[in-house]
């Protein structure tokens, strides 16, 4: 089934929103306006968009430290995201989470985790809840190649498999955990082989081709809703920026490799396709870019003008006082 034109344009706009959001967050971080850590998603936009565009609002998605792209794709408000990155009171987490922990639970974003692989058991639990509820909700969890060496990865795949849970494990294999190549880190060198060992069906897809990601995800999401068990998707991709926005950890990846992957830009690739197939004109794509830039400016303005949390707020929200006995 072909993807309709409006959906393709929407995907383009969302990928571009992620790109511009990350470029701006990086610039503001390096300019000193943004505290903490920022892990850029640039280069991987096609994966978040291609997968999340197949999820419903009530499906649960679990994100990670490199999560801005997942959140934007699932429908989070970029103003409140930017405000959180700026440490403002109007941010999604009132300035308590920062860049790594932005989430909007009202649209099915079940947290963004700073501990590598810790989201996998949580998503497995969300899938267990969906399974106990009946119905056709599913869970999806994003993680990188680095997470595949954690015990939580192995345990979660095993649990999801023995309980036949409605969950999709989405591995964004960007090939490096900070500066450590996955071929060094993974015995046998294959992530899919690991997943197959736990009896999960696996597909490896070009993570820089949003149409391929979308089509694979569409099929896998539909399958997962029927409660036949979990599925494992590996997307090959590359992050353009260092592990996080800072020169504290030098980027040791080969320069030629980085340059080669930048030529496989997932956004340019979609743009080319849209132009070639006559879905949009160059002028229309430029108009989308202008619109996106405008929305990013507006988000930054919102963040800058928002109040900082009060110092005493540091001690609030340790416990929920709802339903307290």
């Amino acid at each position: 089934m072909a993807i309709d034109n409006a959906e393709l344009i929407r995907m383009y706009r969302t990928m571009l929103t992620i790109r511009r959001f990350e470029e701006r967050a990086s610039k503001e971080f390096r300019g000193g306006s943004v505290p903490g850590l920022v892990h850029s998603y640039i280069g991987q936009e096609a994966i978040a968009v291609g997968v999340c565009f197949n999820l419903r609002k009530d499906d649960r998605m679990v994100s990670n430290h490199r999560g801005h792209g997942h959140l934007i794709s699932k429908g989070a408000d970029i103003r409140r995201m930017m405000a959180e990155i700026y440490g403002k009171r109007t941010g999604y987490c009132k300035g308590k989470g920062g860049s790594m922990h932005i989430a909007d639970f009202s649209i099915g974003i079940l947290g963004a985790n700073g501990i590598v692989a810790a989201g996998l058991p949580i998503a497995t639990g969300a899938a267990l809840a969906a399974h106990l509820e009946g119905g056709d909700r599913i869970a999806a969890v994003f993680f990188g190649d680095g997470a595949c060496q954690e015990g939580e990865f192995q345990e979660s795949l095993n649990l999801a498999s023995i309980w036949k849970l409605p969950i999709i494990f989405v591995c964004e294999n960007n090939q490096y955990g900070v500066n450590t190549h996955y071929q060094y880190a993974i015995a046998g060198g294959s992530i899919p082989r690991r997943a197959r060992a736990y009896n999960l069906p696996v597909r490896t897809v070009d993570g820089n081709d949003v149409v391929a990601v979308y089509e694979a995800a569409r099929e896998v999401v539909a399958r997962t809703r029927t409660h036949v068990g979990p599925y494992f998707l590996e997307f090959k991709t590359y992050r353009w920026y260092p592990h996080f926005e800072s020169d504290a950890i030098p980027d040791l990846r080969p320069r030629e490799e980085i340059a080669a992957w930048k030529k496989k830009d997932p956004i340019k690739r979609l743009a080319k396709r849209l132009l070639k197939e006559g879905v949009a004109t160059a002028r229309e794509l430029e108009a989308i870019n202008e619109e996106v830039l405008g929305r990013i400016d507006e988000a930054v303005k919102y963040a800058v003008e928002s109040p900082l949390p009060r110092p005493e707020d540091a001690l609030e929200d340790v416990y929920s006082t709802q339903g307290i006995s």
């Binding site: 999604y92 308590k96 810790a118 639990g125 969300a126 345990e155 979660s156 416990y319 929920s320 006995s325």
Partner: protein, 325 residues
């Protein structure tokens, strides 16, 4: 009122809680094998089936994470760890995830999870099957920690823990399972954070937790014959702690002995002693006494165990000691 053993109080509570709320389920390695958990889960599997009484592989960390994920997705799981020692495997999910979640996401969503942690020491099982780790969990903001010492509290605190919207570490001790006491048949809660005076007295405040409440009662009876009038306090909850109850008693008696079944260094006794020094210093007439495990791992051989675990005699000795000074 009828009198039942502690083990039956837990069993009855599990039956009632699971029958009374479709969001409640029991999960953990061994829950379907009642002998494994001292008989506390008798009849549950037959009554509720494997969807709500969920046996698990030995995957402590991911199973804990899955319980957290299910709680975030609207369930109210009771997660059983048949020995507290095994929870070290799950510390990422307990300490990094469950405890931080509500705060880190700015109070959006809490983790309504009861982690039922069993102390199963003695019986020559040595260092990895005997630990009482309440102090470790009490240290962590975002967790609540309770230690019921009577059948009544076993029921009331378990129901309160399930009703609470925060992650609660519910610690019981297999040495209490045969202890009998009055327990109402209907469901009721004992509020988290409320201690109780087990015996009024004027000479010395004796705070005891969990199984050591039983030993402290014996010690108080012995001391009474010697003309020493002990006030015995059972805090029931270690976090939140009923500070007012403790301080009121210390201000009355001017003396404090704490008996807790964990290690001495940075333990519960240290915390309560510090509290008395901070907030009731001028009332103290003598040094504070601590009865605890020595700072050594648990041994196996019976003669070593006898030296290792505190009892009524060691509690009475500590009280006599501080009355001398």
């Amino acid at each position: 009122m009828r009198t039942i053993p502690y083990v039956q109080a837990i069993n009855e509570t599990l039956h009632q809680a699971i029958a009374g709320d479709e969001r409640v389920f029991l999960i953990g390695a061994g829950v379907t094998t009642p002998w494994y958990v001292g008989g506390t889960t008798v009849g549950l599997l037959d009554r509720f089936g494997p969807e709500r009484i969920i046996d698990t592989p030995v995957s402590e960390n991911a199973v804990t994470g899955a319980a957290i994920g299910a709680a975030l997705a609207g369930m109210r799981p009771i997660l059983m760890h048949s020995r507290m020692d095994f929870m070290f495997y799950a510390m990422d999910q307990i300490a990094n995830q469950a405890a931080n979640w509500y705060y880190m996401f700015g109070g959006q969503l809490s983790v309504p999870l009861t982690i039922w942690a069993i102390v199963n020491r003695g019986g020559e099982q040595a260092a990895q099957h005997s630990q009482s780790l309440q102090a470790m969990f009490t240290h962590i903001p975002g967790l609540k920690v309770v230690m019921p010492a009577t059948p009544y509290d076993a029921k009331g605190l378990l129901l309160a823990s399930i009703a609470d919207d925060n992650p609660v570490i519910y610690i019981d001790d297999r040495w209490l399972y045969e202890k009998t006491g009055e327990v109402p048949e209907e469901m009721f809660t004992v509020p988290l954070g409320k201690g109780i005076v087990r015996k009024d007295g004027k000479d010395v405040t004796l705070v005891a937790t969990s199984y050591l409440v039983t030993e402290a009662i014996k010690a108080a009876a012995t001391l009474e014959k010697e003309g020493i009038d002990v006030e015995l306090i059972d805090p029931r909850s270690l976090k939140p702690l009923d500070e007012d109850l403790l301080l009121k008693s210390v201000k009355k008696t001017g003396r404090l002995v704490i008996a807790d079944g964990g290690w001495k260094t940075a333990g519960i006794g240290a915390e309560l002693a510090a509290l008395a020094v901070e907030k009731a210093f001028k009332y103290l007439k003598s040094p504070v006494g601590r009865v605890s495990l020595p700072d050594a791992p648990a041994p196996a051989s019976p003669t070593l165990e006898k030296r290792y675990y505190p009892d009524a005699d060691s509690i009475a000795a500590s009280v006599r000691e501080i009355l001398k000074s």
